[in-house]
Amino acid sequence: MITGMQRLAAAASGKASDRIPVFCNLIDQGAKELGMTLREYYSNGENVAEGQLRMREKYGYDNLWSLFYVGKEAELLGCRKIVFAENGPPNVGEMVIRNYEDIVGLQVPDDIAAHPAFQEPLRCLRILRSEAGGKFPICAYVTASMTLPAILMGMEKWLELLLTGPADVRDILLAKCSDFFRKEITAYRNAGADIFVYSNPFGSTDFLPTKLFAELSLPWMERDLNPVGTQGVVYYCGGARLNPVIDRVLNRLEISAYYLSPMDDISQGKKIIAGRALCAGVINDIPLIDWSRDEIRREVRRMMDDGMPGGKFIFGTLVMPYGIPEKNIRAMLEAAYEFGSYENWA
């Protein structure tokens, strides 16, 4: 039987397999699967690995996640308070950086793999690797240097520093975040992750004007990635649109996969990429909570019609809110398997 890894390899090289790869970002749902609270679920890497493996098995999609929650990166940089909700992703409950002095004092761990906050993700990765390694791509979430400050000091303070603060302080912070990024991606690579979702909303022109994107985002992306390489890296800007920046990123960095925003026009994205990289069409999964089966199928069909011509296409989800009913997750995935079948397409 064909594996997710084989589907991905085929799609990346522009070849057909049975169907396009389907990446489904079920993260917090693992707690529901195991009948646990989110706090309990995320307290142990075995839980997260078990949740991931069970959900992949149950729904049949192609990827696994080693991500706990985005605030994990803040924990690695000194955050001691995460706020857990009953039905949504945990949040950073304490800013690591409250003033410019905190930026000077910010310590990037020498060895992330040895950091106490990385031990449970490591345990999770070891299990995923031993149970599904080589069969299903294991994803890790790594935040770009331009975006990480938003997690450490909040969006408002980061925008203030970026737009109106002292450039030397901004650059000290960005250099530390870039150093952290390199160490983090290396730690995930060493632990066996295959795909590195390089998250960078501040690397989009939805967040920054074109001029700042060119003057700041691109050079800092180069600093992040040049020393560690772009093998397995997927460019992702959160919900922000990628199409306006894809060409410039492709020309400056050898990133070989682009995870569009649901707000991006898939046909246009494919046209810009022009076969130079893999393109992920991403469903707007926020309304998935309320959509009917027919609405879901129509939307998936539309995405496939836009994305499948020319190959090098995968189907992806955005945040998959906790409240999406299981029947709607199934309806979306069944439609993706059906309309994403190369045989049906042909």
């Binding site: 706020v83 408002e156 004007p209 074109t210 919900g239 309304p287 309320d290 409240g323």
Partner: protein, 221 residues
């Protein structure tokens, strides 16, 4: 000369250059442009220009929204004490993020714009319980409650807008106080504001000022 002021200010704002925008304003004041003209003919039209550029999918990023609102609020705060006659307050708003939500950027952009539009705004901060939204709205004689949510579960949850609506209904305040919601989940689902029983929503912080001004009029009818 006045046209040059407007042009220079707008260019500085679009370049996210706060210092340059403030210099344009101060130079204009020094050359005799009245504080009233600065607010009503330069700063507020710049917000409207940003709204126009958003609706036309022009290159208007979050950073530009942020800077537009912050500079506008700063300039208006500086100019109002110099007005010949105190401007009339257009209306009153209380605003905060829904319970469980700690993302304050959108709220801050809205507050900056409301201040510039002469709308009196009370910032309730982050993680605001539904009862407090209503209590503060009553205490401040507000026509509008603004609820910002960055996450789906805080937008749709029982302790968000849905409960604010229930409390307004129970206290017979629905005719007097309108609810506006905003934040990422609403941008991805244009029908979500109806599901959470808000009166209206805004796609971004800049546009919210205009929508809120409309709601104030409606509440006062």
């Amino acid at each position: 000369m006045f046209a040059q002021v407007i042009k220079a200010y707008n260019e500085a704002i679009f370049d996210t250059d706060r210092e340059r925008a403030l210099k344009v304003i101060h130079d204009a004041v020094n050359k005799g442009v009245s504080p009233e003209a600065i607010v009503f003919k330069v700063v507020i039209p710049a917000i409207e220009l940003m709204i126009k550029s958003i609706s036309e999918s022009f290159d208007a990023s979050l950073a530009q929204h942020f800077l537009t609102s912050q500079v506008a609020a700063d300039v208006v705060e500086e100019m109002i004490p110099q007005f010949k006659k105190s401007p009339e307050v257009v209306g009153r708003v209380v605003i905060g993020t829904s319970q469980g939500d700690f993302h304050g950027l959108g709220k801050r952009i809205v507050i900056g714009c409301l201040n510039a539009l002469m709308i009196n705004v009370t910032d309730l901060g982050l993680n605001v319980p539904p009862e407090r939204f209503v209590d503060e709205a009553v205490a401040h004689d507000a026509q509008v409650i603004g609820i910002s949510s960055m996450m789906v579960h805080t937008a749709r949850g029982e302790n968000g807008c849905l409960k604010v609506r229930r409390i307004l209904k129970e206290r017979g305040l629905e005719g007097k106080i309108k609810i506006i919601v905003g934040g990422a989940p609403y941008r991805y689902d244009g029908n979500l504001y109806r599901i959470v029983q808000a009166d209206s929503w805004a796609e971004d912080g800049i546009t919210a000022g205009k929508v809120i001004a409309g709601l104030i009029k409606e509440a006062r009818k």
